[in-house]
């Protein structure tokens, strides 16, 4: 479309000779440096293709001569982060559990690290907000099966509950019902109602409290205590609490008495490093308000 250029009268400059619907294009060439920078960026991009991974192939992609992968960056950054945290992590490792909360900086560090570790490792069972669900304890209330002191929590996290490790928490609710059980079906119902009464819940009509008390004393009190307040040595729940691990309706309690219970938790001492386990203990302890 190289038509003869002409002088534009308003500006006194030449046109390119291009015209669209009577609108003519002024000849305003780019400055030289601008154009050369533009060329340089094109050359640069070709260099990029060669040096870095870039082109998708059918099943793979070009790797680039540097063999660069973003994964290496992540590893390097993680290492750098560890080095950066080394000082505080060291302080955390040295400080006894009970003293961590006395140092605000250390506490903040442990809480932040504990929160992250909780999300990664504990949330699948206890929930992201640690509220648990039936059969997985709520860690935000004050009902503790194995103790809510920071040392108790630390031990539970380290070795877990009822797993193959000798150091794990042991204890089990036996099955009291069934053909071989200690209790007959109607006795199970009576004990279940007694347990509901312990936590202030309504009982079924015609239920005999005296019988319930007697049956409880001979079958349950060994673990749960005469008043049903539980025993943390054995992981026996406090039955006077308003919070129930498996549910507080009559049907669920009957099922618990009939079949027994025994939740498990893995021990984390071997899988997470010691400072992480410590941070988790601090975090969980703070969530529940501390004991």
């Amino acid at each position: 479309m190289a038509v003869q250029p002409e002088i534009d009268h308003a500006t006194g400059r030449t046109t390119t000779g291009h015209e669209w619907d009577g609108i003519k294009e002024l000849n305003s060439p780019l400055p030289k440096w601008w154009l050369y920078i533009f060329y340089a960026t094109i050359v640069w991009s070709v260099g990029y293709w060669i040096v870095y991974p870039s082109w998708p192939l059918v099943t793979n992609y070009t790797k680039g001569v540097l063999g660069y992968a973003s994964r290496q960056d992540v590893t390097r950054e993680l290492d750098a982060l560890k080095a950066l945290r080394a000082e505080r992590a060291g302080a955390l490792a040295r400080t006894p559990l009970e003293d961590i909360a006395k140092d605000p900086t250390l506490l903040t560090f442990a809480l932040a690290q504990g929160k992250a570790a909780f999300g990664d490792n504990c949330a699948p069972c206890h929930g992201l907000s640690a509220t648990g669900s039936p059969s997985f304890p709520n860690l935000r209330d004050d009902t503790w099966l194995w103790g809510g002191g920071i040392a108790d929590i630390h031990q539970t996290i380290s070795f877990g509950i009822r797993n193959a490790d000798d150091r794990s928490r042991q204890g089990q609710m036996p099955a009291l019902g069934g053909p071989n059980g200690a209790l007959k079906p109607d006795e199970v119902i009576t004990v279940a109602n007694f347990v509901r009464a312990l936590s202030g819940q309504p009982t079924r009509q015609g239920y005999d409290p005296a019988k319930g008390k007697e049956l409880f004393a001979s079958n349950c009190a060994a673990c749960h205590g005469d008043e049903g307040r539980g025993n943390r040595e054995l992981g026996a729940p406090n039955l006077t609490s308003r919070n129930f691990l498996y549910g507080s309706d009559e049907k669920t309690i009957i099922e618990t008495i009939n079949l027994g219970r025994g939740g498990v938790m893995p021990g984390w001492a071997g899988r997470l490093d010691e400072t992480t386990v410590k941070s988790l203990a601090v975090y969980v302890h703070a969530l529940g308000g501390g004991q």
Partner: protein, 493 residues
């Protein structure tokens, strides 16, 4: 207005030879501009502004300002590591960054006001590009000589002496550029310490990198690119053209007085013969002193940065030829028309546009001043834990958790008591925090810092409470009694 723009082109002489479009290069080569030195009132003002701006830039980091023990004593400091900005008596925390917004809004409005009063004065006098280019050109002139000498030398083949001069020029430019980058990083750390560290290679890598970047940009923008930055890179000329009006004072060639231009002798002859003769003697002094290579006699144009050097140049010519000064002057288009019609010139500085800008500047300034004066030294922020909203405890009571953040903006350790109003039966606890006799947590916060803690609020008789009730958290400093408060909700079901 269109009159002004159209006139010069229409006056161009014989039509230039048209090149075949296809033969032209894709780019426009740069015309080297050999700016000639000039003396005059505006040039003096430019010198004063230049020295003033550079002095502030280079020496401000060394100015001290005592703020208290353990506080930085640098008057202007951007403390990125601790998220603080210090400006004399002002200390800005990250959440107060709206002061910056206010400052930026003010800066924009001041630019608008300057523009409404006198066009691109910013470009001509204050813009860093102008200041540093002026400095670099001065160095160039000092080493290589004025316009004539430089043009001559550049037309000659390279000699050892010429090569030496050019090298010296670039070395001096690089030294200024390096010093410019060096001054920049001093705003981000304690200046005297950093200078020592830089000299002994103890400074952090990032400082050297920034000095490198700024050395490069200063050298290339002020030394190599000069006017190209104004012509091709800067957006302001385009924006400015849309913001101005016919009353703004701009460097103007008063063509009503200058045309028809002719030599001094021809003009004398014409005047004797009662023919029209303009004051412009076509000596091109106004063109050779122009830093952007503009011919102001073509009318107002984008390339002109309004530096006024052509005014100084032409005034000295007018003095020599014994004509009145001000053939080129700060004037507006309206006056050119008015003079032609025999009317008086008008310079309405105060008009709706300038009044509105000035009013807005005052308003923003007052708001910021009010903000600064009422700035509190204690901040409380409370965030209700939403997941879960509440937890039931073993005895049936209900607990809500909150994240409480206390900011102590004073340079001393302070101790606060945290309490809640409106829930007399509730108990406030926090892990790792001791309690007062009144059973409220006592929290100590370090100097000039923020502390975040998780607190639990427990209501003993949730049945007596509505599903959601308002609670106000209040911190009171022990001793001074300084307070801050924030409201949130307590949820029981």
């Amino acid at each position: 207005m269109s009159d002004v723009l159209a006139s010069p082109a229409a006056k161009k002489g014989a039509p230039p030879v048209l090149p075949e479009y296809d033969d032209e290069p894709l780019y426009e080569g740069r015309r080297e501009i050999y700016q000639q030195s000039v003396k005059g009132r505006l040039r003096t003002i430019k010198w004063v502004v230049l020295v003033g701006c550079l002095a502030v830039y280079y020496f401000l980091p060394f100015l001290r300002w005592y703020r208290g023990p353990n506080q930085p004593d640098q008057a202007v400091l951007v403390d990125l590591a601790h998220n603080r900005f210090y400006f004399f008596f002002i200390e800005i925390w990250p959440q107060e960054v709206y002061y910056f917004t206010g400052l930026l809004v003010m800066a924009a409005l001041v630019l608008f006001l300057m523009n409404a009063v006198a066009g691109r004065v910013w470009c001509g006098y204050l813009c860093p590009q102008t200041v540093w280019t002026d400095l670099f050109t001065t160095v160039e002139r000092w080493v290589e000589g004025d316009r004539r000498e430089r043009m001559l030398a550049d037309a000659q083949p390279m000699t050892a002496a010429k090569f030496g001069r050019k090298t010296l020029k670039h070395v001096l430019w690089l030294m200024i550029a390096w010093w410019t980058g060096g001054a920049w990083v001093l705003y981000f750390a304690d200046a005297p310490t950093l200078v020592k560290d830089l000299a002994t290679f103890q400074a952090p890598m990032v400082a050297y990198v920034w000095i490198g970047i700024l050395t490069f940009t200063t050298y290339s923008l002020a030394g190599l690119m000069k006017e190209q930055v104004c012509l091709y890179m800067c957006p302001w000329p385009r924006i400015q053209a849309a913001l101005t009006d016919q009353y703004a004072l701009n460097v103007t060639y008063r063509y009503d007085r200058g045309e028809p231009r002719m030599s001094m002798k021809a003009a004398a002859r014409a005047r004797e013969a009662d023919q029209p003769a303009g004051d412009c003697i076509d000596c091109r002094q106004c063109v050779v002193v122009c830093p952007t290579g503009v011919d102001i006699r073509d009318g107002s144009q984008m390339g002109c940065i309004q530096c006024g050097l052509c005014i100084d140049a032409c005034n000295s010519v007018m003095t020599k030829v014994n004509r009145p000064l001000g053939l080129i002057a700060y004037d507006n288009d309206v006056n050119i028309d008015r003079r032609r019609q025999g009317l008086d010139e008008v310079y309405p500085i105060i008009r709706p546009r300038t009044l509105v800008y000035a009013g807005l500047i005052a308003a923003v300034g007052l708001v910021m001043l009010y903000g600064l004066m009422t700035r509190s030294f204690t901040d409380l922020s409370v965030l209700h834990d939403r997941n879960p909203l509440y937890v039931q405890l073993s005895d049936g009571s209900v607990r809500n958790s909150y994240t409480v953040r206390i900011s102590n903006k004073r340079p001393v350790h302070r101790i606060f008591v945290l309490a809640v109003d409106e829930l007399p039966l509730a108990r406030l606890t926090a892990v790792g925090i001791s309690m007062t006799a009144g059973d409220w947590p006592v929290i100590d916060v370090g100097p000039d810092s923020t502390r975040e803690i998780i607190v639990h609020l427990t209501a003993q008789k949730p049945a007596d409470l509505p599903p959601s009730s308002r609670v106000t958290f209040r911190i009171t400093e022990l001793g001074t009694g300084e307070k801050a408060s924030m409201s949130d909700h307590f949820i029981v079901r």
